[in-house]
Structures are given as C-alpha cells and as structure tokens.
Amino acid sequence: MSNWGYIVLGWSATGAVLTAYAMRLMARGRALSRQVPEGKRRWMQ
C-alpha cells in the first residue's frame, strides 16, 4: 500500500468509527426518549 493509502485508511477509519458511534447514540436516544414520561424529558423542548 502507498503512503497515501495508509493516510486515507487512518482518516476514513476515524471518520467512520465516530460517525457510526454518533448515529448509534442518536438512535438509542430516540428510542429511549419515547419510553420516558413526558414530564421527565427535561432538556427536550
């Protein structure tokens, strides 16, 4: 693999991991928010 191959691999792996984790957090938050009684959703205005 060329040097640029390693650079692209490192950057894209970082981006992919962070994006996947952020999307998982969003999905989990959305699923949990629906289970919490409305009065307890204090920051979700």
Partner: protein, 251 residues
C-alpha cells in the same frame, strides 16, 4: 423538525450549535490536514496521520481523566449525576483510545515496518489503559444495586487513571519505537512547521468539540436509561401493591 420530533431526541439547541461548529471544523480540518499543511522532512506525507492520531490520544486522556474526577465525586459525595458523567466519559474514552491504537498501528506499518511491537512501552501501556476501561464498562454491566455498581466502577476508574502518566512518559522512561512527545515535551519547544503546528492544535479543538457533543448525548442517554428503569420499577411496584391488596381483600 416537527414538535413531536423535538421531544423524542437527546438533542437540544446547544447540541445542535455544537454539532454545526464541529461539522464546520471537520471540513476545515480535512482541508488543512490533507491539502494545505506541508509534508514533513522525515515522515513525508505520513505526518498527516498525526492530525487524527494525536487528538484521539488526547481525547482518550481527557475522557479517562473526567471519568476519574466523576468517580472521585461518586465515592466522596455519593453523587449519581457524577456516576453518569463518569460512565459516559469512560465509554467515549474507550472509543478514542481504540482510535488512537488503530491509527497508531496504521501509522506504524509504513514507518516502523510493523503494525504492532510487543516490546514497545507506549504501545503496550496504551493497550493496558484501553483494556482497564473496557473492564470498567464490563463491570458496569454486571447486575447490581446502582450504588454498589457506582462504587465498584469508581474504584476501577481511579486505579485505571494512574496509567495515563505512565502512558505519556513511557517514551521518556523507556527506549521505544514510538517518538517522544511532539508538543507536550518538557522544553515546550515543538519542532514543527507553523502550519503543521496550527493544524495539530486545530485538530485537537475539533476533536474536543466532537467529544463534547458525544458526551452530552451519551450522558442524556444514561440519564434516560435511569429514568426508564425507575419508571419500570414504579410500575412493577404498583402492580405488586394491587396484587397484595386483592389477596388481602379476598382473605
């Protein structure tokens, strides 16, 4: 976004502003890191991996330090809020520490000719740090009373955080393949081109914005999980009380 959507996410106005700033920062970081910043005299183009590897390692340090601060407050003040902060920061710390290891391995292959070297103090101590906090997350998954779980995991975090100075100074204390600290060296005289140094600082700022966004969302999820547990427990207790009343009334 409709009003119904607005109340079913862990987002808020503050996190949306944070996300916009982080997204803008990522665009500039890609341009600076991959296009505008120059190649290094010894590392060549490979130095561009520094702009994802170093901030990942910095965020791992920050996350685990925050976990330790939260854990100290858990043991001292019996604070549930700090327990959730500690747990949230630990999960994100494991993510960034894993990224630091991964990008380090990717950088190591063309530079040292190997992805991994078991004799290298920096690599092995970072792996130990990573595994200790994976253990912290595993301990939190063992079913237990919330107070017991919080105390148990807080002790692990306070033991684990001792590893951070060991990881950081391992390149000074032992002979390693890994180079010494570029910026946080003892003489505070980084041997870097101005634009490279700026890009490195900028990458740390952008990653810290991403970290802040992730932490707020992860904390809110942890808080929601507690609310759902308490709500479910309340419903179960009400059912038990009704059953007891029925049995008591019938006898």
């Amino acid at each position: 976004m409709t009003k119904a959507d607005a109340v079913t996410t862990t987002g808020s106005r503050a996190t949306r502003i944070l996300a916009a700033l982080a997204a803008l920062g990522v665009v500039w970081l890609v341009l600076l890191g991959l296009v505008f910043s120059p190649a290094d005299q010894t590392q060549g183009e490979l130095v561009r991996l520094m702009y994802v590897h170093v901030p990942s390692a910095w965020l791992a340090y920050l996350s685990f330090s925050l976990t330790a601060v939260g854990s100290a407050f858990v043991l001292w003040k019996k604070s549930q809020w700090w327990d959730l902060v500690a747990a949230s920061a630990a999960e994100i710390g494991v993510l960034f520490c894993g990224l630091a290891l991964l990008t380090g391995m990717i950088w190591g292959r063309p530079t040292w000719g190997t992805y991994w070297e078991w004799g290298d103090a920096r690599l092995v101590s970072t792996l130990v740090l990573f595994l200790v906090f994976v253990g912290y997350l595993a301990i939190r998954r063992i079913p237990a009373d919330p107070t017991v779980r919080a105390n148990r995991s807080a002790i692990v975090a306070l033991i684990g955080v001792v590893n951070i100075p060991l990881v950081h100074f391992s390149v000074k204390w032992w002979r390693t393949l890994h180079q010494e600290a570029t910026v946080l060296s003892t003489d505070f005289d980084p041997k870097l081109d101005d634009l490279m140094l700026f890009t490195l600082f900028f990458s740390v700022v952008v990653f810290t914005l991403v970290f802040a966004w992730l932490l707020v969302h992860r904390f809110r999820i942890a808080w929601l999980e507690d609310q759902v547990d308490m709500h479910s427990l309340g419903i179960a207790l009400d059912e038990r009380r009704r059953e007891a009343e029925l049995v008591g009334g019938g006898s």
